[in-house]
């Protein structure tokens, strides 16, 4: 179930599918894992001030479909006066793959993963991922699969509510229904030109509830209509997916 080219070898890539045998038409996840050499980092969907998210180009048999990669909650990684969003050491992302209703007994799934990684210098590495799968009447789990890869991805948080309002150069994001999120609570915008990546976001709790104040990016072009991204609570709980309309 492995592996990859080793040319520059900052990144080593491996792939772990959720199932060993797939059932026609039944989707499954695939984990694309990367280990990085010491001192290097890779990037989230929104890399922050600089960088680029990893990508994968698939070459799949006819009828096979893939969804967009899903990434774990990133960390803030300061880099020479800038703020980047990403991962140090190891990381992974998941891709949901859906086989067609009719397919051969044995299939080979191929893709090329592209990793931009930086320390002071930046390099781009391409790593092929290849794995063979066998069709069955029902899926057979892969013992190498770790369910925490999926459960630790940012997800919706039941019972929480969000509202957002533009106040001059900031967006105030109010969070209802949650326990104390704590100082250091941070909103990772899913794309650039929304949040000032370098600026601190201030968490406050008062009688009306809790909120964070998010300074807006100098590169915002026009009004910001929506916040879409991941809220990382300061208390260490898992990241929470957010989509909320911004009242101007």
């Amino acid at each position: 179930m492995v592996l990859a080219s080793v040319v520059f070898s900052v990144v080593s890539v491996s792939v772990v599918p959720e199932v060993r045998k797939f059932a026609p038409g039944v989707p499954f996840d695939v984990a694309i894992k990367a280990d990085l050499a010491d001192g290097w980092h890779s990037y989230w969907l929104n890399p922050g001030d600089s960088g680029a998210a990893p990508k994968i180009d698939w070459q799949l048999p006819r009828g096979w479909r893939t969804d967009s990669p899903r990434f774990p909650t990133p960390k803030r990684i300061p880099m020479e006066g800038q703020m980047t969003y990403g991962y140090e050491n190891g990381t992974y992302f998941l891709v949901r793959i859906t086989p067609p209703a009719k397919t051969g007994l044995n299939v080979t799934l191929r893709g090329t993963s592209k990793w931009m990684v930086c320390q002071e210098t930046c390099v781009m590495e391409n790593h092929g991922v290849v794995f063979d799968m066998v069709r069955a009447n029902s899926s057979l789990a892969n013992p190498e699969w770790k369910e925490t890869w999926r459960t630790s991805l940012p997800g919706a948080q039941r019972g929480w509510s969000f509202s957002a309002r533009r106040v001059k150069g900031n967006i105030v994001l109010r969070i209802g229904g949650a326990g104390a999120l704590g100082e250091g609570t941070y909103f990772f915008a899913g794309s650039g030109g929304i949040v000032n990546h370098q600026a601190a976001q201030v968490w406050t709790a008062d009688a009306r509830g809790q909120s964070i104040t998010i300074p807006v990016s100098e590169f915002a072009s026009g009004p910001i209509k929506r916040l879409r991204g991941v809220l990382q609570p300061g208390n260490g709980e898992a990241g929470v997916k957010i989509v909320v309309t911004v009242v101007q």
């Binding site: 890399p47 001030d49 600089s50 960088g51 680029a52 880099m79 020479e80 006066g81 800038q82 980047t84 931009m116 930086c118 002071e120 210098t121 930046c122 390099v123 781009m124 794309s191 650039g192 030109g193 990016s217 100098e218 590169f219 915002a220 072009s221």
Partner: protein
């Protein structure tokens, strides 16, 4: 009375310190709609260029680092050279700026810069060498590439990415808006690429 004067003196000193802090926290940066920061830089052939020399012409500034993978991608597919040719054919002054410090990724001397220009087929007016990064910092250049467009009257009309990572080239669109007498529809966007290696 004497005591009072001393207090005033301390207060004004404190105010001075606050001003200094405010200035260092917010360095001069390129702001769309305002005068583009002035500069004089030497190009790859040792020729000096002052921004004021180009009054009356549109100027594009392209922060670059020929070893940055994102820059490499824009040149490998020919997109950047094509945009340069399109612009310079229309009498736009296109200045590539290298702010990589000596010893850091993408730093070039004049000969190396000329080799990059030849090797990659740049269609540019000049490649400027910003060894100490002063001009890059004055503009707030964050990434390679990071693009700026300056109008003939010296005002900044675009600051951001080369494109939307799709089919829209923001530099082309800004110039076309300006030539048509329209307000630039997208005057800023998040630049993307490698960090500038100051």
């Amino acid at each position: 009375m004497k005591k009072q004067i001393r207090i005033v003196g301390i207060a004004s000193l404190a105010l001075g310190a606050a001003l200094v802090i405010a200035q260092s926290a917010a360095p001069p940066k390129a702001v769309v709609g305002a005068e583009a920061p002035a500069f004089t830089l030497v190009d790859s052939n040792g020729k000096s260029h002052n921004l004021a020399d180009f009054k009356g012409k549109y100027v594009v500034l392209e922060w670059t680092n020929h070893l940055c993978p994102i820059v490499v991608g824009h040149y490998r597919n020919g997109g950047m050279q094509k945009t340069q040719k399109w612009a310079t054919d229309k009498k736009v002054v296109w200045l590539s700026v290298v702010s990589s410090a000596p010893g850091k990724q993408g730093h070039v001397n004049g000969d190396e810069a000329n080799a990059v220009i030849k090797d990659k087929g740049h269609n540019i007016s000049a490649m400027l060498l910003d060894r100490d990064g002063k001009v890059g910092r004055a503009y707030g250049a964050k990434t390679t590439p990071h693009m700026y467009v300056i109008s003939p009257d010296g005002k900044l009309i675009y600051n951001g990415a080369i494109d939307d990572k799709g089919s829209r080239n923001h530099v082309v669109a800004a110039l076309e808006d300006a030539w048509a007498g329209r307000a630039v529809a997208v005057p800023t966007s998040q630049p993307y690429g490698c960090s500038v290696k100051y």
